[in-house]
């Protein structure tokens, strides 16, 4: 029906507009109209197919009622979950971290491997909320860490397979072990941030995102180790370790040492020195963990 379709499209903002508050292009209304128009004629066709036994089952009034009851129960359950899901998992906040596009991923991966030429590390803000990652290459995202983690588990399985050490439960063990180290890191950093009383806007999810960036270097190292042996592994891992170190220092400095480092002045005073030590400790833990989680995969 062209009438309701055009009425529904007008309030939605044009796709492709550079509005930082809009995380995703809204194409749902056009598709919904198309699907609903398609489903209506096929629904009318079902009771007409009386030759099949399924139509006889559907025509039985008791099972009809049972189906209607079941579908209404499912709809109620879905409503309940939708209403309460926001209490347990901050879905809207998570959506922000996945609002990425190909250009952002490409630029961010380049930044992770070669952060030495990038000048401006500040995250841009739009009326007190950080801009979505697809508009600012400095913003943290969860897409790259999630993909890198899964790729790491698969590459670990590949590496173990080439050495005849593979068994399916080892994959689960690798994944669970890497997750456990990540959790331990996050808890340790949260504890030290609490002890040093840093007033920062670094949320837990931000921290998980930053700590997940090291999986990219680990994947590169293990793949090079598979292709070129130990020499390639050490070279690439060494390079990625130094890059991640520099990347973490430059990113965390702006978050933890906000007032002092924003102008680039040398930090003085006991409190700022403690924060600098904390930043360096977090950044130094990354290469250590990168080595620890991959050295047993390359022989």
């Amino acid at each position: 029906m062209p009438g309701p379709a055009s009425k529904r499209r007008i309030p939605v903002s044009q796709p492709g507009m550079a509005d930082p508050h809009q995380l995703f292009d809204d194409t749902s209304s056009a598709q919904n109209q198309g699907y609903r128009a398609q489903r209506a004629p096929s629904g009318l066709g079902y009771p007409a197919a009386s030759a099949s036994p399924q139509a006889a089952f559907l025509a039985d009034p008791v099972s009809n009622m049972a189906m209607a009851y079941g579908s209404s129960l499912a709809a109620q359950g879905k409503e309940l979950v939708d209403k309460n899901i926001d209490r347990f998992i901050p879905v809207t906040k998570l959506k922000y971290y996945f609002a990425v596009d190909t250009m952002y991923v490409g630029k961010k991966l380049g930044l992770l491997v070669f952060p030495y030429l990038h000048q401006d590390w500040e995250v841009q803000y739009q009326q007190d909320t950080p801009v979505a990652p697809r508009f600012d290459v400095n913003a943290p995202d969860l897409y790259i860490p999630a993909m890198a983690f899964i790729t790491y588990v698969l590459v670990a399985g590949l590496a173990l397979g080439t050495q005849d050490r593979f068994s399916p439960d080892l994959l689960g063990l690798q994944a669970s072990s890497a997750l456990a180290w990540l959790t331990l890191e996050v808890l340790a950093i949260l504890l030290s941030l609490y002890l040093v009383t840093v007033n920062t806007d670094l949320t837990t999810i931000d921290l998980v995102a930053f700590l997940g960036y090291k999986y990219v270097g680990m994947i590169g190292g293990v793949l090079m180790g598979l292709l070129f042996g130990k020499i390639g592994y050490y070279l690439v891992l060494g390079w990625c370790c130094v890059s991640i170190f520099v990347f973490m220092i430059r990113t965390l400095r702006l978050k933890i040492l906000a007032e002092a480092a924003a102008e680039g002045v040398r930090v003085r005073g006991a409190r700022n020195q403690l924060r600098m030590y904390l930043t360096m400790a977090v950044a130094a833990a990354q290469p250590l963990l990168m080595y620890w989680l991959t050295f047993h995969l390359v022989r």
Binding site: W181, L184, Y194, L195, V196, R271
Partner: protein
């Protein structure tokens, strides 16, 4: 590499038990880490020591009852499944 999420949970349970076992009067007061010995000035930011003392006191207060339940569950599970 047997460091799994389950062993992390076990280690966390043991650590919280260790914090809960520290006795206020017999031990913490004697080393100067008692709950009422950490009152600093209001204008200053609390140092690391007073933050730690606050943390220990809060963990002991909050986790007293849940620890009983979690410990019992852990004991039963370890007895049944090793």
């Amino acid at each position: 590499m047997a460091f799994t999420l389950y062993s992390l949970l076990q280690a966390a349970l043991l650590c919280v038990n260790a914090i809960a076992v520290l006795h206020e009067e017999r031990f913490l007061k004697n080393i100067g880490w008692g709950a009422d010995q950490g009152i600093g000035g209001f204008g200053e930011e609390p140092g690391i020591k007073s933050q730690l003392m606050n943390l220990i006191r809060s963990v002991r207060t909050v986790m007293r009852v849940p620890l009983i339940i979690i410990n019992s569950v852990a004991i039963v599970l370890l007895l049944l499944f090793g």
